[in-house]
Structures are given as structure tokens and as C-alpha cells.
């Protein structure tokens, strides 16, 4: 019998109700076909295979101002399907305070060298699963700069970049060519009253006030801190602002002199050449920032995928070109143009680097320092 006629005959029987639906599907083979279709259709649908596996549709990053090229995040989304949700903070205390309070929703954040051990000992960050970050090649990093990413032999942070803390000077307005922290604070309280910014951050603002007297950037000595507080209180009426997001004030022409990190100095100088970046001769801070994964990360896999993506030397090179902080990764540096690698803002002269100090965990967690900055701000 012609299969088509047979099919029509069975269909009529089904329509008249003389056979059941199940019998009809069975004898015509439609049931098998449907079962096969049902199992295969999702696989047959066009579906993109993400290189990093399926990491969800959102990765949350907590970081610093002016610290990433937004185009790199777009590229990450293109490659993984996950959007990057960025929140910006101006001090390491804020990272710590929020993680301690819980419920941040961050998958990655960017703590500075001297805070990694505190986060680790409070159980707020997890040991990095290095297998998930193949782009972080420890052998290719500058060992001196990344050592605090490791606590008791366990790697907690993958180095992002390093830098220094100096001050920005608008040379079109400031004619004294200041080169020391002594000059910085003296000019603040005289000629450039109302034109100076300092960080909203105890470590750098108190640290560089300590340098005025030639004390250590990391001093926790009661008397030395009292001296620093006296200087800060005297300088306060002369400040334009206390803020860690000071680029707008410089770009607007409101601020002419201010405590500044490498990358902000580089970005300001790139756009406004008369703004230069100076390291105080007395010293100050050298630092390294790390990517770390909070234990509370809701999208751990996504966090690792983002770190791995940003540490890809190609991507990292575009990041460095954008934010102007030197990389710790020799593979990234090979991809950078010579003018960046010889840039005096990013790579200060050896005699200026020599007196710089890495911040210490004790400096960061000292409650007396926190209270001094709070009093200074509330004064």
C-alpha cells in the first residue's frame, strides 16, 4: 500500500475516534519523530559557544575611579555574554567596610597591596584558584611588586598594576616648581590657598603630611601622628576639596595642586600638558593593586573569567594605555610603545623611587589614623 494512502487512512480513523491518539502516533511513526525532535531541538537552535564557558549574564566589579578602558568591558561582554557592572570607590577602607558589612554582590574587587593580608585574615577573600586565571603568569611579574598578593605562601591577589602617590601641579598657575612635600604643604597654606586637593583617604593624606616632617609614610607613632594632624588642621581652611576623585577639579581649573596617583597624573598630563606629576623628594608611597575574589562573590566563575580576561597581555596593554598606570607584567610591557615605557610619570627616576615606601597593613588598620582623618574632615 502506498504509505501516503496508509497515513491518510490512519488519520481518518484517528479523526473518527476509532483509534487513540497514541496508537495513531505509534503506527505512523510521528511519535518517534516528535520525541527525537524534542530531544534535539535545543541543540539544533543556533547558540553561541562562549570561550570561557557559560558564566551568566553579569559580573560585578568594584574598583577605583578612572581605572579601566570601558571598551575592554564591551569586548568582555562580546566574548562571554556577561555584562560588567562597575562600582567605583575612593579608598580601601570602603572596600573593607562593605565586605565586612556583607552583601556587596561583588565578584571581583581591587584591593591595594597592604590590605590583602587583612582581607585574607578576616576571611573576606578566597585563595585565588590560579588554574582559572591562566593569563596570570607569576614568573612574568616583577617579584618585588607582587609579593604582598601572597599571604603565608597562598596567592590571594593577581597583580593589576603598580604606581606611586605624588602630587599634580598645574604649572600654568603654580610657578614655584615644587619638588618636596614640605613645599607642597607650605604652598597650600600660602600662595595657593583654596586651590589644593587632598585624598579622602587616611593612608595617603596622613602619610604625606608625615613626610612634611620627614617622618615615615607608615608612621604609627602617637607624637608623629599628632604633628601630622596639626598640619592637616592648619591646612584644612586652605583646601579646595578633600576627595579621591579630583580629576574634574583639575580639568575645570578649580584645583592647581593636589595629592595624586600615577594614573590620574598621567591622564591629566595627557589631556592638559601643563599639568605635571611630581614625586616629593622626601619619599612617599609606592603601591600595587591586585584583583581579588570575595568569598561572598555571587558569580565566582564570572569573577575569575573577568580577571583572566583583563590580565591577557593584549587587553592589559590597552588598559595601561588608557589608565596610565605601569603594569607589573613583562609580557604586557613588550606590547607597549616605547614612549609609555620611558614616560617619567609612569616610571619615575631611580633616585625618586628609592625613598618610597610600600604602605603597611598596620598603617591601614590603625584606628587612630582613621579617627584623625575623620576629625580632619569633620573639623
Amino acid at each position: 500500500m502506498d504509505p501516503r494512502k496508509e497515513f491518510i487512512k490512519q488519520l481518518r480513523r484517528y479523526q473518527k475516534g476509532s483509534i487513540s491518539r497514541r496508537h495513531f502516533l505509534g503506527v505512523t511513526g510521528l511519535g518517534t519523530a516528535m520525541a527525537v525532535m524534542a530531544a534535539e531541538v535545543p541543540g539544533l537552535m543556533p547558540r553561541k559557544a562562549w570561550a570561557a564557558g557559560n558564566i551568566g549574564d553579569k559580573v560585578s566589579l568594584a574598583t577605583w575611579p578612572n581605572y579601566h578602558d570601558p571598551k575592554d568591558f564591551e569586548e568582555f561582554t562580546k566574548q562571554t555574554g556577561a555584562a560588567v557592572e562597575v562600582s567605583v570607590f575612593g579608598s580601601n577602607e570602603e572596600f573593607l567596610a562593605k565586605l565586612q558589612a556583607g552583601g556587596t554582590g561583588w565578584d571581583v574587587f581591587v584591593p591595594t597591596n597592604y590590605t590583602v593580608s587583612t582581607h585574607a585574615s578576616l576571611g573576606l577573600i578566597e585563595p585565588l584558584d590560579l588554574k582559572k586565571v591562566p593569563n596570570y603568569d607569576i614568573a612574568a611579574q616583577d617579584a618585588r611588586l607582587i609579593k604582598e598578593g601572597t599571604v603565608n605562601g597562598t596567592v590571594y591577589g593577581a597583580a593589576k598594576d603598580w604606581g606611586t602617590t605624588g602630587f599634580a601641579v598645574n604649572t600654568a598657575k603654580v610657578k614655584e616648581n615644587p619638588t618636596t612635600w614640605k613645599q607642597f604643604w607650605d604652598l597650600t597654606q600660602s600662595t595657593y590657598s583654596g586651590r589644593v586637593t587632598v585624598h579622602d583617604y587616611q593612608l595617603t593624606t596622613i602619610g604625606n603630611a608625615l613626610k612634611y616632617y620627614g617622618y615615615s609614610f607608615n608612621s604609627n607613632d602617637e607624637k608623629e601622628l599628632a604633628d601630622a594632624e596639626k598640619l592637616l588642621m592648619a591646612a584644612k581652611p586652605h583646601l579646595f576639596a578633600i576627595t579621591s576623585d579630583y580629576q574634574p577639579a583639575f580639568r575645570n581649573g578649580d584645583a592647581w595642586l593636589g595629592i595624586c596617583w600615577t594614573g590620574d597624573g598621567k591622564q591629566l598630563h595627557r589631556d592638559i600638558p601643563e599639568i605635571t606629576y611630581v614625586l616629593g623628594k622626601e619619599g612617599g608611597e609606592i603601591w600595587t593593586d591586585f584583583y581579588a575574589v570575595p568569598k561572598s562573590a555571587p558569580n565566582r566563575e564570572g569573577g575569575y573569567a573577568l580577571i583572566n580576561f583583563l590580565l591577557d597581555p593584549q587587553i592589559n596593554a590597552t588598559e595601561v594605555k588608557f589608565h596610565g598606570q605601569p603594569s607589573t607584567d613583562s609580557r604586557t610591557n613588550k606590547l607597549l610603545p616605547d614612549e609609555l615605557l620611558k614616560d617619567p610619570i609612569m616610571y619615575p627616576a631611580a633616585e625618586l623611587l628609592a625613598p618610597l615606601e610600600f604602605g603597611s597593613a598596620a598603617t591601614f588598620t590603625n584606628p587612630a589614623r582613621a579617627e584623625i582623618l575623620a576629625r580632619f574632615k569633620a573639623a
Binding site: 570602603e94 565586612q100 587583612t118 583654596g194 579622602d200 579646595f240 578633600i242 575623620a374 574632615k377
Partner: protein
Amino acid sequence: MQGPRKWDWTAILLISPSVAIFLGLLVMPILVVLVLSFGERAEAGGYQAAFTFAQYANLPARWAAFRNTLTLAPLGTVICLLAAYPLAYYLAVKVSARNRLLLLILVIVPFWTSFLIRTYAWIFILGGKGLPALLDLIGIPDVRFINTPFAVLVGIVYGYLPLMVFPIFVSLERLDKRLLEASDDLGASPRRTFLQITLPLSAPGAVTGCMLVFILLMGEYLIPALLGGGKVFFIGNALVDLFLQSRNWPFGSAVALSLVIIMLVTVTIYLRVTLNNRGMRDQALV
């Protein structure tokens, strides 16, 4: 004879959601803050159980923040009132019904944009390349606005004006216009009519507006942070610093509780003084 008192289940059912909200979101948190305020800061920040009055003894360390809040909040409220009253009067009494709707919408429109963005805009208006540059052009050099108490006050008046306009507008609109005619018929001058009829009858709206603005201003954080440059410090800013920078929860709790107490006392005194007349108490929205 009435039987033994019965539970009114309908009433209990109706008020239970609001009771739950009050207990869970107001009473409980205040109790937590009260307990924290007698504690100590833990080594790495946060809270550590203790019983000490040290946090309260340390309150004078935030004197400047209290002083700024307690001067700029009332000042801002008074300026809002003086600026809002003529506007509300115009909207309620003078303008034609057709234009009134349009003008009211214009008062509301700013609310369609985030308050943060609108305050950010003031940074550029008051910053070096904004108004000061304009003043420089007409021969007034070196004027600075941004990051001064003045800038904070501008932000306050700008941000809170609508909250003052609406209650006053409502009380003026409800005002029985026949009273004005009667006053006129009895030979009162327009000035006297305003002072003896309009003003007293619109006072409940003004009282409500002042309460709304003042209470919100006492807890203000954003405007001083953005337009004060971290230099014009409110208690709200001190609190954010204590919880998010120095992680001193006990001291933060003591400061927060002091703010609540100061607010309760000032508001009570304020209501006593302004609502001493019974007619007004019935009409005020508070």
C-alpha cells in the same frame, strides 16, 4: 448591657502591616543602634560587645558637623520658605486655572531626573568654568562658589524647594475665597487681608513644608558631599565616614542616636511653638 470586651479582628488585621513595618524597620533598628552605641570598636573595625559611655563622651569630636547641620538646615528651611511662599501664592491665587496645571507640572518636572545628576550639574554651574568665569567676564574676578557653605545652601534650596511649594500651595488653594471678599467688604486693606486672613490660614501648609524640609535636611548627605567638596560637613557625612571609612560602628551609632534625639527635641519644640493655636493643629497635615 455590653458584653465582655472582644478583640476587634478587623481593626487588628488592618493595622498589623503598618505595625510590622514600624517594629521591623523603625523600632528594631533603633534598638540595635542603641545597643551598638554602648559598645567598642573591634580591632579590625566593626562592633565589639562592651558597656561604655566612651562613645558619647567622644561626641564633641564631631562638634563641627553638628554645628554645620544645625545652622545650615534651619537656614536652608527658612530660605526655602521665603522663596516658596510667593511662588505657591502665585500658583494658588493669581494664575488662571489653565496655566496653573502647566506651572505645577513645571515644578514637578525636575523630579523626573535623578537628584544625583541634578546636583552634579551644580558642580559645573558653580565650578571655575561656570558662574565665576561669567562674573570674571563682567569684571568681578576671583569669585569662588563651589565647595563653600554657599554652594551647599544653593543646592539645598534648589533641591528642596518643591517640597515646600506643594504643602503651601494646597493650603492656599483650599482657602475659602469668600473670607477675602468679606474682609474687603468690611473695609480692610489688601495688606491687612493678607496678614490677617491669608497668612494665618496658609500657616499649616507652611508648617508642614518646613517640617518636611527640615527633617530631611538634618539627615542630608549628598549635597554637602558633592557641593561642599568634603569640606562642608553634615552629620550625615560624618556618619558615612564612621561606617564606611573608619568602621567605627559604636561611635557611629552614638552620633546617629544623638541626631535622632536632637531632631525629636527640635521638632517637638517647633510644633509646640507653631501649633499652639488649636484651629491650626486641626488643619496641619502633621
